[in-house]
Symmetry: C2
Subunit: 651 residues, 2 copies
């Protein structure tokens, strides 16, 4: 790719972004669109459709940017929950990282690269027709002492990322602990889910649960509901799972974290999800079934990853003009037109890739839902991890390695060659990924903001086919679609930091725009369907560590490729130091994201004792968990009155 | 190695074994030796030195074999504890595995190998001068359909091993659960160890502990003792660790398994070891110090493994006569004597190796003790794992790969080539390992039985230098020395099952002898210094799974080397199925070996309530944990009397 092609892509996309932003600032002010652009505000009744006309409505204005900017983190937390705050922290963290990276990259590394002689292209004239490679490390002479600057930059950026990551871990842990202290009693804090209840001939499941928990948790057990399942004939079936309620958070936590039964695959307990977060379909599966499903999903995920390579390889072909002209000789006259060639090489490839990729998150969501999780949030977290790995593998590695005709399998089969393989292949794809950030990254943000599809569907329903107007619903942010993309740009930025620093300003722009746009969306659009209280954060942590290690592997390869083996050897400690840092963080912070400690739980329980409404809360607790499809059977544990089964028949 | 050399080695070692056994059966009857051969019985006063002379005393007799044989498992459990029973179960399990393996190997695979033509050596005459290779898979013709028998044998033996392993897991889990039910209240069941107690300016460590546990475990907290440490000036220092006592097993279990503090590296709790099992030196280390020590130990273990290769490579040289004659030309006349050559090739190499290896367990024990464990049993378990991996790496892989001039590092760097590399290298070392089983294996058993060194030291003390007579002490079995050897022979047997089935009868003999000898030693010699209640078992499980996977890798390589690629491909599912089996076992059985479930603990606590002696037990509990070097400070939590520090000064 040459500089002018990049400039074309940047121009087109900047124009598009500006157009979309202007469009949004007008469209959002139209009263008819309020349910498209601010459904959250409609739901909490802060905003109403009004037909009052005003010339102001037709003028673009940046007031939404200002509102998104000035809202404090506390306000965001109060109105959108901790998960939204954590999602925004990813932008803040990334912005800080790439401010430093872009400064070092653009003002130190890029000039060094440009004055190199390796590509024999050092006159300062005719920049527009230069290949982007003159700005990359490829242009530094082999064995040049200037590479020591790159070596130092690798250490500096690793230190900066680790420092910021540590700070962020500390900050979000503290937020999470503060969150539980601030939260009123919630049903899921007092509830556990029990699965694998052994069946016995002489007692029902409900009787077994009652007996087990009065025997072993006599002081904290409150009551329980058995989960039911309806078959096709709408008969209720006795499922071996139950929600068990406790008198204290600590009691529930103990029961959920200790192994209950002598047989570890019976009486399996776990923290209950929030009532609205429960995913019911997989309650009937036994331990063995869930285990088999999990294995099947693992295999299916691997197969999807392999099959997906076919369109990716095809897309790769499109980035290479010469190859395209050989494949489609009749297109040659059209392809020779400058603007067409620039669009084809700069814009089209990542658009096609984007189209294919849009099918991946729903598929991964389906896979995750088959793994036996009992909550939407866990399913989404699992899908998020799957989509992230899929993205890294199929966008980064597949593009890098098929572009250089390497087989991806060799990564695993010959790990010794990984650094040298990546050192050869990764820089060759620098232009592709710069274009990818500009097109895919920026476009995804604009389309996130303007919501063209929901707008059209609402418009059609409102004015053309009233019967198909969709039911008003406040959407929740699909983390498994958004978070992997955000993290992937971080990976691109860190891996190309040393190789092609030209990518860094574009990534910095991506995070700046993203910060404003997602804040705006949280404030106006999305409403949380569940609250995991920062449980998504460890994904960000591990993704960052992986990006660093990948950067180190490439650095080791590139220094030895550039005939500076000493720098290559001296880079070797860097991944080990990073892994040590990761191990320390895992011990210091990870437990906080998994479960609340005794100190927290007992303190909150003690505070409740002075709360006059707690009795009322416990009365409502037993009815909190109801399958929307089937009403569960409820047993009361109140010793004073006989235990009567209250069977609510399913209609 | 030729058949006659093997027969020489077998002859020498059978003779030695017979000699040692006869010697033992006479020596053990001499009253003066009773403290050498039956110290356990002396300690429990079942046996006394007597000077009564009897001609019977000078005649060898197999009565000890009979006694070891007829003792039931219940008697062994009652007198030697569960760890001893589990150690003996390893022999029973291995014996069962290798009965089947030896049957299949000797009666099906070995004849098939022998009638092959690959080594052009199929006349049935002159067996003594034949190479052992004619009995190995190397003699099967390339592409021969007979290899399908080997293929089936791989599936059959994997199935048999998995079935027996599952059975054994189930059996030992049940034993472990039964054990806690049968056990009287023990101090360590009611005690936890707390480390990382945060220091504060306004209160002592003891006050902090008191406050924390009365705040958060008010219903179960009993009292505590703070651990002290004396510096070189014999001053007591305020160490941030304490033993905390609880009123119930369940209370202690909850406090040890739940994260206590908001900061996960403060108030770190774990189950207390048995009082006599406590390892005191590392109590003063902070979380960060222990973490750094652990990393240092990991690196030290890796370095030891690498440095150790030097003597191993030297030993390798000795097994190869031709190379030896080139290296030491002046020795040629001596080496040409048949018996010398046979001893050199058949016996000497493994003896030298053995000598070097004897330094490894103490070193690994030292490393493990630096990792911050607080009990001898944990240190021994960790050393056991280290020695096992060391043995597998330095005896199996180093011999196999340096014997074929391969670099071991390639195992990690090019995992793709592992099966083919092993398929070439492993069969070449078959003779070495057959000799190794016969010499090292059998000899280690004889020397275990006769205890030549302790006998000599006792004799010298008794009759020559009375002043240096060692203090009478009942030894405990060093699991980290014995268990890795026993497991390593299992690995050898499984990996050579397909390649050189001739090894199997010798391994079967090893396990048969071992069963009798170790039973005898447990009954007469060893006394348990600690009781982990089968916590060593998972090491056996994982070692067996690893051996199976290694066998599969070699099988895949050998089938493709023997030009039967279909069999090679069809073997591929086998390691995956084995890993699935392992994953299931991990979920089904492993939790039982880590901690006791609620069901167990609550039931035992309830039984205690009817025990009239329990009050007395609690009174003694607080004095159970005392550093033999320093007396700890004791605080009583009895609310009725004021909390008085009883400072027992260190002398």
């Amino acid at each position: 790719m040459i500089v002018s092609a990049l400039l074309t892509a940047v121009g087109i996309n900047l124009g598009l972004c500006f157009l979309f932003f202007t469009l949004y600032s007008i469209l959002r002010k139209q009263p008819g669109n309020i349910k498209v652009y601010a459904p959250r505000l409609v739901a909490v009744r802060k905003s109403q459709e009004s037909s009052h006309f005003d010339i102001e409505r037709l003028l673009p204005s940046p007031s939404w940017v200002r509102r998104a900017w000035i809202t404090s983190e506390e306000e965001l937390l109060a109105s959108c929950g901790l998960d939204a705050v954590v999602f925004m922290r990813v932008f803040i963290f990334s912005f800080r990282v790439f401010s430093v990276a872009a400064f070092v990259g653009v003002f130190i590394l890029l000039p060094l690269n440009y004055v190199g002689n390796q590509l024999k292209d050092t006159d300062f004239s005719d920049i527009p027709h230069k290949s982007l490679d003159v700005f990359s490390i490829s242009n530094i002479d082999d064995g040049s002492p200037r590479l020591w600057v790159h070596f130092c930059a690798a250490y500096v950026i690793t230190g900066v990322v680790c420092y910021l990551l540590y700070y962020e871990n500390e900050y979000i842990s503290a937020k999470r602990i503060a969150y539980i202290y601030s939260l009123k009693p919630q049903p899921h804090q007092f509830t556990i889910l029990v699965r694998g209840i052994p069946s016995s001939a002489d007692s029902s499941i409900s009787e077994s649960v009652e007996r087990f928990f009065t025997d072993y948790h006599s002081s904290t057990y409150l009551s329980h509901v058995v989960v039911h399942h309806s078959n096709k004939l709408l008969h209720l079936i006795e499922v071996p799972a139950a929600f068990v309620f406790f008198k204290s958070r600590y009691g529930a936590a103990i029961a959920s974290r200790m192994q209950q039964s002598i047989n570890p695959i019976e009486w399996i307990t776990e923290e209950a999800p929030e009532p609205q977060d429960v995913y019911w379909p997989f309650f009937s599966a036994s331990f063995l079934e869930r285990w088999i499903f999990k294995m099947v999903v693992v295999i299916a995920t691997i197969i999807l990853t392999i099959v997906f390579l076919i369109p990716v390889v095809f897309v790769q072909g499109l980035t290479n003009m010469d190859q395209l002209q050989i494949l489609l000789p009749f297109m040659k006259p059209i392809l020779n037109i400058t603007i067409v060639s620039q669009v084809v090489t700069g814009y089209l490839p990542s658009l096609i890739l984007q189209l294919f990729l849009s099918f991946v998150p729903p598929t991964m969501m389906l896979f995750a839902s088959m793994q036996g999780y009992v909550s939407h949030s866990e399913i989404e977290k699992s899908a998020c991890v799957k989509v992230l790995w899929f993205t890294i593998w199929n966008i980064f590695f597949a593009n890098v390695l098929s572009g250089s005709a390497f087989s991806q399998a060799e990564l695993f089969l010959e790990p010794k060659n990984v650094p040298s393989m990546l050192a050869v292949a990764v820089p060759q794809q620098a232009s592709f990924f710069i274009a990818y950030v500009v097109t895919s990254g920026w476009t995804s943000l604009s389309s996130e903001l303007t919501r063209i599809l929901p707008l059209l569907s609402d418009f059609m329903g409102q004015y053309c086919f009233k019967c198909i107007r969709p039911k008003f619903e406040v959407p929740s942010i699909p983390y498994h679609t958004h978070l992997p993309i955000v993290l992937f740009f971080g990976l691109l930025g860190l891996t190309y930091f040393l190789l092609a620093p030209l990518i860094l300003p574009f990534i910095l722009i991506y995070y700046s725009l993203g910060y404003i746009i997602y804040r705006n969306q949280f404030l106006n659009l999305y409403s949380a369907k569940f609250e995991t209280a920062a449980k998504f954060w460890p994904i960000v942590h591990y993704s960052t560590i992986f990006s660093l290690i990948l950067m180190h592997a490439i650095a080791i390869g590139i220094f030895s490729l550039k005939k500076l083996p000493l720098a290559s050897s001296l880079t070797l400690p860097l991944p080990f130091l990073t892994l040590l840092f990761n191990d320390y963080c895992r011990k210091r912070f990870l437990p906080t994201f998994e479960a609340y400690p005794t100190e927290c739980l007992v303190k909150r329980d003690q505070q409740d004792q002075n709360d006059p409404t707690i009795g009322d809360f416990f009365n409502k607790l037993v009815t909190a968990y109801r399958d929307p499809a089937v009403e569960p059977v409820k047993y009361s544990n109140d010793k004073d009155e006989p235990s009567t089964p209250l069977l609510s028949e399913h209609v």
